[in-house]
Amino acid sequence: MIDKTKHAIEIHNVSVRYRDFTALRDASISIPHGTFSGVIGMNGAGKSTLFKVIMGLVEPSHGTVQVCERSTHDAQRLGCVAYVPQNETVDWDFPVSVHDVVMMGRYGVQNIFRTPSEEDVAKVSQALHRVGMHEYKDRQIGELSGGQRKRVFVARALAQGADILLLDEPFAGIDAKSEKALTDLLLTLKEEGKTIVLSTHELTSLSEYCDHVALVKKTVIAYGPTHEVFTRDLVSQTFDGMVHRIRFAQ
């Protein structure tokens, strides 16, 4: 069982440099197991880089990263972290079905030819039921609505058996009803012990589902329980003052 006293993600003094550009400087964040964290910051603030660090896709030039008390390499091998891409970065014309995409979640544990076993098929089917997409399993992925598309990738994360779900701008391009359905799904997953981390521009509804918030501006300015961190002062600092229309906890 998941030890809630330990951290799902521990990042200490991490810096990431791309050629002549520093994306993150001296960033530290410790995300507890079983929490729902929102990562906010302006475009280019380093949210994507932070995600890449957690997934082990970029090697920090400085600092340490631990995911599920392991190195990112081991966490990758064990499939601890699942990534749900932004809708706009996916090629929706790609000739794959809903079932095919969710099966990709199993690739990490399969043999090198990725031949699906009975267990893999069962897990995929289970994951599809879990997100309410089983009846669409034979659809080509482009034949789905924005919200359904998101749920397919969440199902892939479940089929993978990941403890941590990273969602990149999951609410971009989906309607309010789908957003509600998605956050409800993510909240139940959190209750079951998953750690949810999402980046978003949707500041107005953030405090309704996130129990933790991370403010990012070239580093992690602040991270903690929503009511402590999601305050006018700190958010204003993150967005260079452009925050007049948002209701805050305090």
Binding site: Q76, D91, M104, G108, F113
Partner: protein, 279 residues
């Protein structure tokens, strides 16, 4: 003349059976690879590599080694140079590819004009499958078979790499390895196809069948099957056409592929119009 004699007559010549077999093998392997290339958006890269092998072919001819070795070395060299230039400038990848492949192609043209006859030049540029040697035919078949086998065996990983490389990496699959493996397979395929369709037209074999299939299906296994059928049929009909009309084999194969693409394109247009009209 009935249809059976029409089909059987060319087969009494060894060069024709050989040409048909080689063209079909090349057609099949190019079709399989084309499905991945068009989904990955690597069409231009295929074009770049095929042009860049020219100096390799000529140098191999001068030194007296099999031309496929020279072609393969220059294919990898082109990929390497493109990679180095791209990661050290702000110039976009398509421009880098354009510069690199035209440079190598131009260098090949210079070499060729000093060494081989214009007939040989035509054969390198446009293929000459009717005159393929036994050794070259054997090499082509083995290379085509090996590449097809490897690509089909690893199709799921390759498809994941094309579809979602970030997910692939996040579950510990080395996308760098997959990337270079796909490039090497592409390079081998291009060298194997040179004698059939030549440097200029090989890119058609690597784009058109996959594109035709992509128009007709939304399932990847079906896409592979359709691409291979379309391509092999084009190769065989192309070989016959070139025999009866005494025209370029490579040209015939590619032209028939394009016609089949046109048919698929017209079908999809008609299909969408009809469903709009019915709705």
């Amino acid at each position: 003349m009935d249809i059976l004699t029409l089909i059987l007559e060319p087969l009494q010549y060894a060069f024709m059976t050989k040409a048909i077999m080689v063209s079909a093998a090349v057609g099949a392997v190019c079709a399989i690879l084309s499905c991945f290339l068009i989904l990955k958006g690597w069409s231009l890269l295929g074009d770049a590599i095929s042009h860049a092998v020219l100096p390799g072919v000529v140098l191999a001819y001068i030194i007296g080694i099999p031309y496929s070795i020279g072609a393969f070395v220059f294919a990898l060299l082109a990929v390497f140079i493109i990679g180095v230039v791209k990661s050290n400038t702000k110039i976009k990848e398509d421009a880098v590819m354009g510069i690199v492949f035209t440079t190598l192609f131009a260098f090949g043209l210079i070499l060729i004009s000093r060494t081989v006859s214009s007939v040989d030049l035509m054969h390198v540029l446009f293929g000459y499958v009717l005159g393929i040697s036994d050794a070259a035919a054997l090499y082509t078949m083995i290379a085509a078979g090996a590449v097809a086998l490897v690509v089909l065996a690893f199709r799921r990983t390759l498809l994941l790499y094309c579809f979602d490389p970030i997910h692939a990496q996040s579950i510990g699959i080395s996308t760098t390895l997959v990337h270079y493996a796909l490039l090497v397979l592409l390079a081998i395929t291009i060298t194997a196809s040179l004698q059939t369709v030549g440097i200029i037209l090989v890119i058609a074999m690597l784009i058109t069948p996959g594109s035709t299939a992509f128009l007709l299906t939304k399932r990847f296994p079906a896409m592979l099957a359709i691409a291979v059928c379309v391509s092999v049929v084009s190769s065989v009909i192309g070989a016959y056409t070139s025999y009866y009309l005494d025209v370029s084999t490579g040209g015939s194969i590619v032209f028939i592929q394009s016609m089949l693409f046109l048919v698929a394109f017209a079908y999809t247009l008609l299909h969408t119009r009809l469903s709009i009209w019915r709705a």
